[in-house]
Amino acid sequence: MTQSYVDLDVRPILRDGGEPFGKIMEAVAALGQDQGLRLYATFKPVPLFGVLEAKGFTHEAKEIGGGDWEVLFRRSGTPVKREAETAPATSTAGWPDPVQQMDNRDLEPPEPMVRILSALETMEAGEVLSALLRREPMFLFPQLAKRGHTWRGGLEPDGINYKILIRVGRPPDTAA
């Protein structure tokens, strides 16, 4: 159903250490009914896939060399209803088993965030960390995004604890 694509290159923003999320959402909001978005980024923008899936977009990502990625977002016509607690990465399929498991439930804030970020610094790209928390770590997400990590989180079946899986990525500003 998509006929044409609007191009958006956020690589300069990422290389300057900026946060392109607002710009991307603006571009998406301005798309016509028969338009899709062609996005260029310095890393595979996994967090975005979930956000745009919820707005009714499918994605097709390919590496275009130099560590850069081109992603085509196409309207599927059916916005996917998502749980309010679900964080960006659409799926952890293909993710390796966590190399580290943490239980941060009994730590006072912001200690859970400090422990997670410290552990991530010691891990290799592609490795996964799993952490149990008391609540959605709102101040952690921007730090993860800035450092190029991808994550998926949600409430545990008990409805009380929050579990987050984080896959170590490359910081966007060193990918250029």
Binding site: G17, E19, F21, P47, V51, A84, E85, A87, P88, D106, E108, P109, P110, E111, M113, V114, I116, L117, S118, A119, L120, E121, R134, R135, E136, P137, M138, F139, L140, F141, P142, Q143, L144, A145, K146, I160
Partner: protein, 451 residues
């Protein structure tokens, strides 16, 4: 959702709010307004609005701009609007205070400042309402704390609408008979909407969340907090809407105020039970200063409820409304505000300065930014002075009230010095705590990270 970043202007709101608090305490110590002047004198109105708008509303707005996004897990609708909103609010408050000075005869001019004040305050609060409203509107279902904030914002609309009607009639710019009727009799509804709906509801909602967060207690989402929300909302609706209906019918407001009062006491009782549960169910045994001092604010709130009942029983309620309002404004809302600022400023400053380098290098803890031992005594002085001042008002002992107000001001100044020390990282003496990539924070503006 990419999480929540720091609200750039929240520190400016806090700084402006604290300046107005000091100003109000200085006026009380100097014997300006109630109890030296009558309760409805322009001088008292000036004082009350300095506290309610200048201090408490700016404090609550600054806090909501930062924490509504945290509560609903969505970014703030617009990051630019908070600055013009703050400027409109300050200009509007200045106009309002000037209008009261005109009424008091302190200065005269051939135009009234009230229409200007009304327009500026309505614009400032309108920008806040729009921004927070759009942020909340994007979320379904709303978490409990956000529902309290929603009711608080609706109450703010009612407060501003009623206040604007009063101001315009005082400025002699309206002559509509209904508006004049409202202006002459709806003052209790304005107070209930402002202090009960806007300020207290926002404080309750945010305190549910912050107490659970900082004491590691389970989040409350069960039946009782929802009951608090519903009873409180119905109490506000019965008082404000019922009161307006009675007013239009030329009847006494008393039935609406009585029914609302009974409902709100029931809501407060359940809220008290929830808060006790949070303190008991906490998994952190050691309580930080902010939670310890919040407890004194909650005690003041409970004392105000008991005082209201006792005064009603003794049929002295209307004669002592000044003392009761003072206890709510200073024991409960100001005490809570100062206690929470003590934690919030440390936390936001820590996140702003050390967030970008967390995990990459060793960083101080949030608690390293504060010196609780130094602040504790001043908080004790603040609460003791506030309670003495309340007793002095009840006993009509004006000189004692002024002395107590001076002690409150002294304590507040000392607490503010501690807040500034925290904000400027002056409690950190270890030079290793300033690794590369850490910048010294600006006193008034949060600079989003640029690592």
């Amino acid at each position: 959702m990419l999480g929540t970043t720091l609200s750039r202007w929240t520190m400016s709101y806090f700084a402006a709010a604290l300046c107005f608090l000091i100003g109000a305490e200085a006026l009380m110590a100097a014997g300006y307004g109630f109890p030296s002047a009558p309760l409805r004198a322009p001088e008292t109105l000036l004082l009350v609005h300095l506290v309610a708008i200048g201090w408490l509303s700016l404090l609550v707005c600054g806090a909501l701009l930062q924490f509504v996004p945290v509560i609903v897990a969505r970014p703030l609708h617009n990051d630019t609007l908070p600055l013009p909103a703050l400027l409109f609010l300050i200009a509007g408050l200045a106009g309002l205070l000037g209008g009261f000075l005109q009424l008091a005869g302190t200065f005269t001019a051939n135009f009234s400042l009230f229409p200007f004040a009304t327009a500026a305050l309505a614009t400032g609060f309108g920008l806040i309402l729009y921004n927070l409203g759009r942020t909340l509107a994007a979320v379904r279902p709303l978490p409990l704390a956000a529902r309290f904030v929603g009711v608080a914002l609706i109450s703010l609309v009612a407060t501003v609408a009623l206040g604007g009607t009063f101001a315009l009639s005082l400025g002699l710019t309206i002559s509509n008979p209904l508006a004049l009727k409202i202006a002459s009799s709806a003052l209790p509804l304005h107070v209930v909407a402002g202090v009960g709906g806007w300020l207290t509801f926002a404080a309750m909602g945010v305190s549910y969340r912050l107490l659970a967060m900082f004491m590691l207690a389970p989040e409350l989402e069960g039946g009782r907090p929802h009951m608090v929300l519903w009873l409180g909302t119905i109490a506000l609706a019965v008082t404000i809407l019922g009161g307006l209906a009675l007013l239009i019918a030329d009847a006494s407001l008393s039935p609406a105020l009585l029914a609302g009062g009974i409902l709100s006491l029931a809501a407060l009782g359940l809220y008290g039970a929830d808060v006790l549960y949070l303190y008991r169910a906490r998994t952190r045994r050691i309580i930080e200063l902010n939670s310890e001092m919040t407890a004194f604010a909650l005690v003041s709130f409970a004392a105000a409820a008991i005082l209201a009942l006792a005064l009603a029983g003794l049929q002295r309620f209307s004669g002592q409304i000044g003392a009761l309002t003072f206890l709510v404004l200073f024991g409960w809302l100001t005490g809570l505000g100062l206690a929470k600022l003590y934690k919030i400023i440390a936390f936001l400053t820590w996140l702003e300065c050390y967030g970008p380098v967390l995990g990459k290098t060793s960083t101080p803890r949030v608690q390293d930014l504060v010196a609780e031992g130094r602040a504790r005594g001043w908080f004790f002085l603040y609460y003791a002075a506030t309670w003495v001042a309340t007793a002095a008002l009840l006993a009509s002992f004006v000189l004692l009230f002024r002395l107590a107000a001076a002690a409150m001001m002294l304590a507040t100044v000392a607490i503010i010095i501690q807040l500034i020390r925290t904000r400027l990282l002056l409690n950190i003496h270890d030079l290793a705590a300033f690794p590369a990539g850490v910048h010294r924070p600006h006193l008034l503006v949060c600079v989003p990270e640029s690592s």
